[in-house]
Symmetry: C2
Subunit: 301 residues, 2 copies
């Protein structure tokens, strides 16, 4: 608060905020920008008994705070780690800077794929994006349906590894896109207490003729979901004639949550008509973080 | 185009697009995600005769394309390199991926500060954010007014260094935030041909009682600006009573451009009422890239 002493009292609070921001952003303050450093991650190989294979995991941890050696951090777990880990880690690092400070510093865990169809589908199905059975001999869909086993790996093996080796707080976020989106929603529906907040960007509700949407209809009840958050979104994906209908399906999901008025589930839905399925995560992961930390106190240093 | 052969002709084009996206995003295609790698940058020390000091510069270059050894890349120069270089490099890398492909691969040059007030102000002034003269003995404003010399450094020394040492195309973008925003606009006004596209995020038009806005009123004419682009934006900065008025000032800038119908200047203005001065760059740099490359062909591999 020492920087406040020279201000006249008649300035409104928002002006005072602007003042602090400007002091920093215009370089008038002694504080210098932290020098550029690339996002560095520990790349570990975690043997999984549940999956019967070693899994590569990326872990970004904030730099040690020498003034607070006991400091602990919430953790964000993100699926499709090769696609989205470095972007999310970059967001978390920037948004928790002392001159930005709209969320806490965070540990980010990226989970890259070995067999994406196996791990990120909650049911076995040969029905493709068009609602037609894929009977080809080498169909990747044959491996589908390992999603619940994969959640078991995350819940039993991965989270405990991270908690043992990093300075974690209890608060955890689970983030996914597309197949990753139905995976995070499946987790909220079947094991809601594994995480505190969920992010589902363009979830592939078309999977198995609406398996996860039907599950939501059955499982989304007030007595099961307490003190959770979910951010979900879609882009301009359009629809196929008999199969996928991202926007329509997500509106159904929104309606289920909204009509039941589940007090224990704070939720936000955003539609990004100008984004594609693949550009959407850039906007949506940012908006999701801002939603999840919307009550985070903005400190003035 | 080989993946297209199995599709029935009656699918609409947008569905076809979704199909390609989904093939990739759902892991059904053989193509695997490129493994996570942190943004790596060359950190060079460039001796500047014009500034009379060595300048540290960050340069991100796309990985070499062995199939196209002669491939060359457009270049984005970003001010406040310590704040925004890694985020923008991350955007450029992700958005140019083969399965996203909404812009070309790009070289990103980050310019960190030594004396920000000196380099990023186009005129000498002791008037502060509140419109009051800062007469304190150690006022940082005393150094102000080196902006045009700094542009000379960029135009004469930095760009030629980058062109000599990297595989550059002629197309160049100049990006800045706050004081960096008035710097890029000052460049557009005084030396429009140094860059092809300009980004000015919450430009500090309050500087020197509206110096850059007045300059815009004088210099923005059809015969000087040919085939250029500018993206500019502001957030919830509010205003001080006698000094800064980000939103009002930027609307004036928008009005100048719009009323004069300068055919050689494509422009886009975005207001982000939910963002702060410091969170805005995350959204605005992304939207700026999408605007600048809005006619970039989306290829299907």
């Amino acid at each position: 608060m020492i920087y406040r002493s020279g201000l006249k009292r008649h300035f409104r609070y928002n002006i005072v905020c602007v003042f602090f921001v400007l002091l920093i952003s215009t370089g008038l303050m002694a504080q210098s920008d932290p020098p550029f450093k690339p996002i560095s991650a520990d790349i570990i190989r975690l043997p999984s008994k549940i999956l019967g294979e070693d899994r590569k995991i990326y872990i970004y941890a904030p730099p040690a705070d020498t003034s607070m050696p006991g400091k602990r951090y919430p953790v964000l777990y993100v699926l499709d780690g090769d696609n989205h880990f470095s972007m999310i880690a970059e967001y978390c690092r920037y948004l928790s800077r002392s001159d930005v400070k709209v969320m806490p510093e965070m540990i980010v865990v990226g989970i890259p794929n070995t067999n994406r169809v196996r791990d990120l589908t909650p049911s076995h199905s040969l029905f493709d994006f068009y609602g037609k059975p894929d009977t080809s001999a080498n169909s990747r869909l044959k491996a589908s349906g390992g999603g619940n086993n994969f959640l078991k790996f995350i819940g039993s093996e991965l989270i405990s590894y991270v908690d043992q080796h990093y300075k974690t707080q209890a608060f955890k976020i689970f983030a996914g896109h597309s197949f990753g989106g139905i995976t995070t929603i499946n987790c909220l529906l079947t094991q809601p207490d594994m995480f505190d907040a969920y992010i589902a960007i363009s979830p592939s509700f078309w999977w198995d003729r609406g398996y996860v949407l039907n599950l939501a209809d059955k499982k989304l009840t007030s007595d099961r979901i307490i003190n959770k958050m979910i951010f979900y979104s879609d882009a301009d994906e359009g629809s196929s004639e008999d199969g996928a209908a991202f926007h329509t399906d997500l509106l159904k999901f929104y309606t289920i949550i909204n009509q039941r008025k589940i007090a224990g589930l704070a939720h936000k839905y955003v539609h990004y008509p100008e984004e594609t399925h693949m550009t959407e995560p850039i906007k949506a992961y940012y908006d999701a973080l801002r939603f999840i930390f919307n009550s985070y106190p903005k400190k003035e240093q």
